[in-house]
Symmetry: C2
C-alpha cells in the first residue's frame, strides 16, 4: 500500500483539513509495503520537514479514529500503523517476526476467517477483527539454520 490512494481526497472525505504534516504521515505509512511504528513514522516524516513527536502521535490518533489508518498490535511494545481497509485494500492479516520485529502484510486470502456466525450471535458490537500470525520470517529462519 499504496499508489492508489489519493490522500487529499481521503482526508477531505473525513472532514479533515489537509495539512502538510498529515499528508507526510500518510505518505510515510503508504509508501512502505508494511505497517510502521510511531517512531518509524516520526523519523520518516522528519526527513522531509521538522515535526514534533507529539504532532505525529496526535495525527496518528486522529487518522485511526477516522478509520483512515489502522492501529495494529504485536508482541513488541508500541503500536504499528498501516492504511486501513478501504475500497483499494481488503482487510488482511499480518505476520509478526518474533526475531527481527518486523510486521508484514499477508495477502487478504491467505488466512480465511469466517466472522459470519460470530456477528450473528455476539451480544455486543463488532468493529473489526485483527488477525496476527507470529513466528519467524523467512530471513530469520535461514539465518538461524546457517
Amino acid at each position: 500500500m499504496c499508489q492508489d490512494c489519493d490522500y487529499h481526497k481521503i482526508l477531505a472525505a473525513a472532514g479533515l483539513e489537509t495539512t502538510r504534516n498529515r499528508l507526510h504521515v500518510l505518505e510515510a505509512i503508504g509508501e512502505r509495503g508494511f505497517p510502521l511504528s510511531a517512531g518509524d513514522i516520526y523519523a520518516r516524516v522528519g526527513l522531509h520537514r521538522p515535526i514534533n513527536r507529539v504532532t505525529v502521535y496526535r495525527i496518528l490518533d486522529l487518522l485511526a479514529e477516522k478509520n483512515i489508518i489502522e492501529r495494529l498490535s504485536s508482541l513488541k511494545r508500541g503500536s504499528y500503523y498501516g492504511l486501513a481497509p478501504n475500497e483499494n485494500h481488503a482487510p488482511h492479516p499480518h505476520f509478526y517476526c518474533t526475531s527481527c520485529g518486523r510486521l508484514d502484510c499477508l495477502s487478504p486470502g491467505s488466512l480465511a476467517v469466517d466472522t459470519e456466525h460470530l456477528r450473528n450471535t455476539f451480544p455486543g458490537e463488532i468493529e473489526r477483527v485483527e488477525v496476527r500470525v507470529d513466528g519467524l520470517c523467512q530471513n530469520c529462519l535461514q539465518q538461524k539454520s546457517t
Copy 2:
C-alpha cells in the same frame, strides 16, 4: 480458566522451580475467566504477599517463554496474559472492548480460522495465530443506548 490445571505439575514439566511467587502469578491469571494486564496481576498477587513489580515481569516473561502463559495484545498499551492453550484449553480468540478496555475470551469455536493453507505455503515458521475482535461489549453497548 482454570480449575483443571495443576500449576505445580505444569511448572515441573517445564523444568522450573515451583516458587510461591510463580504459583501466585499463575493462580492470579487462572482464577479470573479472562486475561489480565501485568499491573492487574501485580496487584492481585500483592494481596497475598508483598512482591516486587520486577519479579512479576520476570515471571511473566519466563512463563510466556515456556508457553505456560500466553501474551496477548490489544489496542491499549501493555500486554495481557492468559493461560496458554494446552490439553485443557483449546486456542481461542479474544474480544477487546474499546470502551471499558476489558479483554474477554471467546469460545474456541466462535471464530473459525483455517490456517492449513498458510502453514503449507508460508516460507517462514509459524508459531501461533492471535485473533482479536474489537468492538463494544454488551455492557458498554447498553449503557450507550440509555
